[in-house]
């Protein structure tokens, strides 16, 4: 009898203990509640001697300072993103629209804001997203609209992406001018403002971007990205001069319709214990007659758990547009013409070195400083244009669930 009491008592006590423990340690599905922050700065410095503003000759000296910030707030299956930034441009070629050459080149600025929303249907493994924004500079306004979806297979071996992107652009100048604050007119070179060269000032672009990612095995992943773009409207730049063979002067004239087909292929491979090879091939063609093939390799070496060093090399072969000819080579009877060397036949090389430091430093209240990445790249084109590109990226995270727990007494 005594033994039975002891047994019943121990069961009761242990059941009470179990109940108490259950209240403390029961499994709770963690709700994602976080904010990711990327702070980015890029410094771009370029020089060359084929400016399209002066008909394919003249300085292309340019410096761009480009800070930006991206914030993504995620709660449960929803996320809202904000990206804002500015490109502060010091360009000698901009001076040459009016031939007013100052000792310090004219400063221009492009400011932009992008907003996005994404929702994930966890059970169906589908994510949908939409976004819009605005990009404005003295002679350009762009309104982008994006719609997209991602599907992930049940075993996570395949990921399919589909995005439709539209850009509605207006090339009129005047919005940022203190005397107007509204779009007024297209900007032509100063000596060519005696007539209207183009009837339209709009440029609309529509892009269908597809993506197919496949995990090949434990160490290899492949991505294939076909893309189709249609552009309509004013595709010429209204202040690009053309110097004809017969000494006439005109403005770049390109067709008002352009179709582009692109294909990107990426293969990332984890080789051995510390090396990751990232290979990329890009193919391009359009109905201006441009064809391009770019090959890129980035080899990332994980020197230790926190430090990764990534040298990279990129080479691009471009067959020029059928509308391109250098300074003084076009004849005025031609319908379409440009002396913009971006559309010429050339080879391009880029050497870069990136370093990533994984800090994972807890800075309190659920905030974590994730990592910092530096990159320097030297860009060289076979027509002598060269550029130095320096970038730095800080990424951080605030875990709001953790932050709430900190507040509790």
């Amino acid at each position: 009898m005594k033994r039975n009491f002891l047994f019943a008592g121990s069961i009761l006590v242990s059941s009470m203990f179990l109940r108490a423990q259950k209240a403390d340690t029961v499994f709770k599905k963690k709700i994602i509640d976080k904010t990711e922050i990327d702070i980015f700065y890029n410094h771009y410095s370029q020089d060359g001697n084929n400016s399209a503003v002066t008909g394919g000759i003249g300085t292309e000296k340019l410096t761009v300072y480009a800070p930006s910030i991206k914030i993504v707030r995620t709660k449960k299956n929803n996320s809202i993103s904000f990206k804002g930034g500015a490109d502060i441009i010091s360009s000698a070629s901009t001076d040459n629209i009016d031939f007013i050459v100052s000792s310090a080149s004219k400063l221009d600025m492009r400011s932009y804001i992008n907003l996005g929303y994404a929702h994930e249907f966890t059970k169906k493994r589908i994510a949908i997203r939409a976004g819009t924004g605005i990009s404005i500079e003295s002679d350009y306004l762009s309104l982008p609209v994006n719609l997209g979806a991602t599907y992930t297979s049940k075993n996570k071996m395949q990921v399919l992406n589909c995005d439709f992107q539209m850009n509605f652009d207006d090339l009129r100048w005047g919005r940022l001018n203190e005397n107007y604050h509204r779009p007024v007119r297209l900007i032509y070179p100063s000596e060519l403002r005696y007539q209207t060269w183009f009837k339209t000032y709009k440029r609309n672009s529509f892009s269908l971007k597809l993506g197919f990612q496949q995990v090949l095995n434990k160490r290899n992943v492949l991505g294939i990205y076909p893309e189709f773009t249609l552009q309509k409207g004013l595709l010429s730049t209204p202040f690009h001069r053309i110097y004809f063979k017969d000494s006439n002067l005109g403005i770049e004239n390109l067709p008002q319709l352009r179709q582009k087909v692109l294909l990107g292929i990426k293969l990332n491979s984890f080789v051995g214990g510390i090396t990751i090879l990232k290979n990329r091939v890009d193919l391009y063609m359009d109905d201006f007659g441009l064809k391009g093939l770019a090959l890129e390799n980035e080899s990332s070496f994980k020197l230790n758990p926190v430090l990764t060093l990534s040298p990279s090399f990129r080479i691009d072969f471009q067959k020029g547009s059928k509308y391109f000819k250098p300074y003084g080579m076009h004849i005025s009877q031609e319908i379409f013409y440009t002396s913009d060397y971006d559309l010429s036949s050339m080879k391009t090389y880029q050497f870069a070195l990136a370093m990533r430091y994984l800090a994972l430093k807890n800075i309190g209240r659920g905030a974590v400083f994730n990592d910092i990445k530096f990159k320097y790249a030297y860009y060289w084109r076979s027509n002598q244009l060269n550029a130095h590109i320096f970038s730095v990226l800080f990424t951080g995270l605030v875990d709001h669930a953790l932050k709430k727990n900190h507040r509790k007494p």
Partner: protein
């Protein structure tokens, strides 16, 4: 034509070598450096290439023309 043929062959060989990778075998695939997506730095590189080269890379942030004075 030959390049296209080689690319198709390479694609077939790669897909034929696919193996289902279980969650506990994803240590290499899940490494941050192995992700195919682009970070802000890659996006800016693509942006520069899209301006300085008439032939833009796939996945580039900029599909429209832009000012072009630079």
């Amino acid at each position: 034509m030959k390049v296209k043929l080689y690319l198709i062959l390479l694609f077939i060989v790669l897909l034929a070598s696919c193996k289902v990778v279980k969650p506990h075998e994803r240590i290499f695939i899940n490494d941050p450096e192995m992700q195919l997506g682009s970070d802000e730095m890659d996006n800016y590189d693509n942006y520069v290439h899209s301006i300085r080269e008439g032939s833009i890379p796939a996945g580039s942030a900029k599909s429209s023309g832009g000012c072009g004075c630079n």
